[in-house]
């Protein structure tokens, strides 16, 4: 089975490294890290991910903006996105709507197993 390529966009390098280590240890995933939201589209074009893990709040650029650009990108617009958030409650998500609405959300801190479950669900 081919490894799934996953792009994780988060301004927290320790977190992206930890996720990469864990996911790649399963041998099912190949993970690309991007810690600068503004560069995420470029990185995505380069690595052609099967799924993007996207932090909501990042300095200078938030997940909502990124997802909007992804959806305008012909090559990337069908890539599934899972939002990662540290602050957002379920209600906050619902209320926010717009760009984030409709995407699965994983609230940090998240169990690795729960994360994989969500990834598998999004990829299927």
């Amino acid at each position: 089975m081919d490894k799934k390529r996953i792009l994780i966009v988060d301004d927290e390098p320790s977190f992206t490294r930890m996720v990469k280590l864990y996911l790649e240890k399963t041998n099912d995933y190949e993970v690309t890290e991007e810690n600068d939201g503004a560069k995420s589209i470029a990185t995505a074009r380069a690595c052609r991910p099967d799924l993007i893990l996207l932090d909501v709040i990042m300095p200078g650029c938030d997940g909502g903006d990124v997802v909007a650009q992804l959806r305008n990108d012909g090559d990337l617009k069908k890539v599934p996105v899972i939002f990662l958030t540290a602050t957002m409650s379920q209600e906050g998500m619902k209320a926010r709507g717009g760009a984030i609405a409709g995407f699965p959300v994983v609230v940090k801190p998240v169990d690795a197993k729960k994360l994989i479950k969500q990834i598998e669900k999004s990829l299927s």
Binding site: S14, F15, V19, Y22, T87, M88, S89, G92, P109, A112
Partner: protein
């Protein structure tokens, strides 16, 4: 006269014969004895000196005197005798038939002049007798003149005699003094015009002319006399016609008494009386005098007015029975009898009196006995004062005082209310401050969450990674990793709680069946209940009215409450949930409650009651259960935010939540929500959302 009486009584007239010739003396004695029928007792002196001696000795009533004596001669002899005893009548006997001498002696005061030898004695006796009588009359006249003189000189009244032309003939010394004359004689020939003003003099003159014409006196006329100098006085004057013995009117005489001081006194008295009367009449009190029979003898105007008569004169002779109902008048009469008997004076006694017109008025009465100059009670003086208005005012005052006292009580009540309101406001302020704190906590929580959760995410991911390593098979490593994972979850739970708390701002209200929400919440905790071996009992009311609530948040509320119950009971126990409808009756409001949140009597409430059989809450802690970060759970088991969030959600719904210990043990929580129309909850702590 006395002499005459004595002679009539047979007493002899004592005659001193002064005669140096014994022959003549003997002759005279004989003649007197014969002609005088022994009426004389004769003593003889043969010279002047002896004669005078005899006179000095006294008792001589008449002197028979020879002018030619050894020690004196002629007219001198008479003069010396007359001078020596002027009141003793002297009959001169002389050998000299000297007409001139005779006239001179008689002129000087001798009673008669007899020539010796021409008389048989009868002439001599007659001369003696006449002389004595004449002397007596003269003395009498002198005495009367003296009386008149004394009277005129000493009476203080003015006495005067005038002729037909009103010229003064004689005036008293007092009158002379009044006229500023040195002696009364100076007034002779003068008239009133010389002393008084013309006006007065003319008036007096007219009066006197009238008297002269009519013969009618003017008696006790009070007149004002004004003197030429302007001085005036009041006189009580009587003027009468002055008649001769024949009755012919030859002038007038009069007596005037100066009554100026009396008159002034009288005027003063009259003035005082007028003043007093004016005062008595002007005084609003009724003043009256009654005789011992209870009949009015005098009264002032106020009395007349009160008894409805035109003037006080109409009251005289009438009594209370003429003006008051019989029983009232009888009461007065009895009272007055007591006053008249001297038993008791009525002093300012106030009583309600029924008048004949049907009115009842309050009268203050004072009645005292009236006494005459001898101190005998001859009636009474009464003073009535209508005090109806004052009584009325007193009553009003009394009422006002009463009202005032009541108002004061009301004010005190209001003050209490205000104090309470103040306390409430203070509590509300505290609550607001508290809310502000919570809001701050929420903001901080939201801000912090991001910064805290990211490290937690790193840790958790790290723990997951390590657990997948072979070294994790070591029991010690496994235990450490598990503890670390628990620690991360605990930190996460706290941050999530803070986020929940800060996220409660807006409600998504829909009419909802509260029973259904409770059922869903029970489902969510079913696993915990089973694990702790607890029984859930539901007492749901049928047909609950819907409540306007945010289902998810309300679910959060009940899950929280149920989890608290589960933690309180640990093992074995019963969770009982009861729902019911209640109508608000008492509206005691909670401190800090907003007006809009305040329940009103008659409002329909849906209540849910959650009872557990756990350990309850310590009495000193029960007031703090809704405070943030307050927890009774062991460290690590609770965030201390559960009930804080619960309370906030309920309050956002305009509902109420109460937590108490059940008497039989365990905790009871009652959530009350308005039935029907809920309230769209705008957050009491406001603030912009943190999304």
């Amino acid at each position: 006269m006395a002499n005459n009486d004595e002679s009539n009584n047979g007493k002899k007239l004592r005659v001193l014969l002064i005669e140096d010739s014994p022959t003549c003396a003997a002759l005279a004695r004989a003649q007197l004895a014969e002609a005088g029928k022994d009426a004389f007792e004769v003593t003889v002196a043969d010279c002047l000196a002896k004669g005078l001696e005899q006179l000095s000795a006294g008792g001589v009533e008449v002197v028979l005197l020879d002018l030619t004596l050894p020690d004196c001669w002629g007219l001198d002899t008479f003069l010396r005798v007359h001078q020596h005893a002027p009141h003793v009548p002297v009959v001169v006997m002389s050998g000299m038939d000297d007409q001139e001498l005779a006239l001179r002696t008689v002129h000087e005061g001798a009673q008669d002049y007899l020539v010796k030898g021409r008389d048989d004695g009868s002439l001599m006796v007659r001369a003696i007798q006449y002389g004595v009588e004449r002397q007596r009359l003269r003395q009498e006249l002198a005495r009367e003149q003296n009386l008149l003189r004394t009277l005129l000189d000493s009476v203080p009244d003015r006495i005067y005699f005038k002729d037909r032309q009103s010229r003064f003939l004689l005036i008293s010394r007092a009158m002379a003094r009044l006229f500023h004359l040195d002696s009364p004689e100076q007034a002779q020939g003068k008239t009133d015009f010389d002393f008084f003003t013309e006006e007065h003099a003319r008036q007096a003159f007219a009066d006197e002319q009238r008297i002269l014409q009519s013969g009618e006196p003017v008696l006790d006329k009070v007149e004002k006399e004004t003197f030429a100098g302007g001085r005036s006085l009041w006189a009580l004057t009587s003027k009468l016609p002055l008649r001769t013995q024949d009755g012919e009117i030859v002038g007038t005489f009069g007596v005037s008494k100066d009554i100026t001081s009396l008159k002034l006194l009288e005027e003063e008295l009259a003035q005082e009386r007028t003043f007093l009367r004016a005062v008595i009449d002007a005084i609003p009190d009724q003043i009256y005098v009654k005789d011992i029979g209870g009949r009015f003898t005098d009264a002032n105007r106020a009395t007349a007015r009160s008894l409805d008569v035109a003037s006080a004169d109409e009251l005289v002779g009438r009594c209370d029975f003429d003006f008051f109902p019989a029983d009232v008048a009888a009461g007065f009469a009895a009272e007055e009898r007591a006053v008249l008997d001297g038993i008791l004076p009525a002093l300012h006694r106030e009583s309600a009196i029924a008048f004949k017109d049907g009115q009842t008025r309050w009268i203050a009465t004072t009645k005292v006995p009236l006494r005459d100059s001898q101190g005998r009670i001859i009636g009474l003086v009464g003073i009535n004062n209508d005090v109806t208005e004052r009584k009325r005012a007193e009553d009003q005052l009394h009422d006002l005082n009463f009202d005032l006292a009541r108002s004061q009580n009301e004010l005190l009540g209001v003050l209490d209310d205000l104090k309470k309101s103040h306390a409430d406001l203070k509590a509300a302020q505290m609550q607001l401050i508290e809310a502000e704190k919570l809001e701050s906590v929420g903001r901080i929580a939201a801000g912090v969450a991001h910064e805290v959760k990211n490290p937690l995410a790193i840790l958790l991911m790290g723990i997951d990674y390590l657990e997948s390593e072979p070294s994790a098979a070591d029991p010690g490593v496994a235990m450490i990793l598990k503890d670390m994972r628990d620690a991360v979850h605990r930190g996460d739970a706290i941050v999530r709680g803070l986020l929940d708390f800060s996220a409660v701002r807006k409600l998504d209200l829909e009419p909802t069946d509260l029973n259904a929400i409770i059922d869903k919440s029970l489902l969510l905790v079913r696993h915990e209940l089973v694990k702790a071996n607890l029984t859930a009992v539901r007492h749901f009311a049928d047909g609950l009215p819907p409540v306007m609530i945010d289902s998810i948040k309300m679910q959060q509320v009940f899950v929280n409450l149920f989890m608290n119950a589960v933690h309180a009971m640990k093992q074995e126990g019963t969770l009982t949930v009861t729902t019911r409808v209640r109508t608000v009756t008492d509206v005691a409001h909670n401190p800090g409650e907003r007006d809009a949140d305040r329940l009103r009597a008659g409002e329909l409430m849906v209540e849910a009651q959650v009872d557990d059989t756990g350990h309850g809450v310590a009495a000193d802690k029960i007031t703090k259960v809704f405070d943030p970060f307050f927890t009774t759970k062991p460290t690590g088991s609770g965030t201390g935010l559960g009930l804080t969030v619960v309370k906030k959600i309920i309050e956002l719904h305009g509902g109420q939540i109460q937590l108490m210990n059940r008497p039989e043990g365990g905790v009871r929580v009652v959530v009350a929500l308005r039935a029907g129309s809920g309230r769209v909850g705008d957050s009491p702590i406001g603030g912009s959302g943190i999304d």
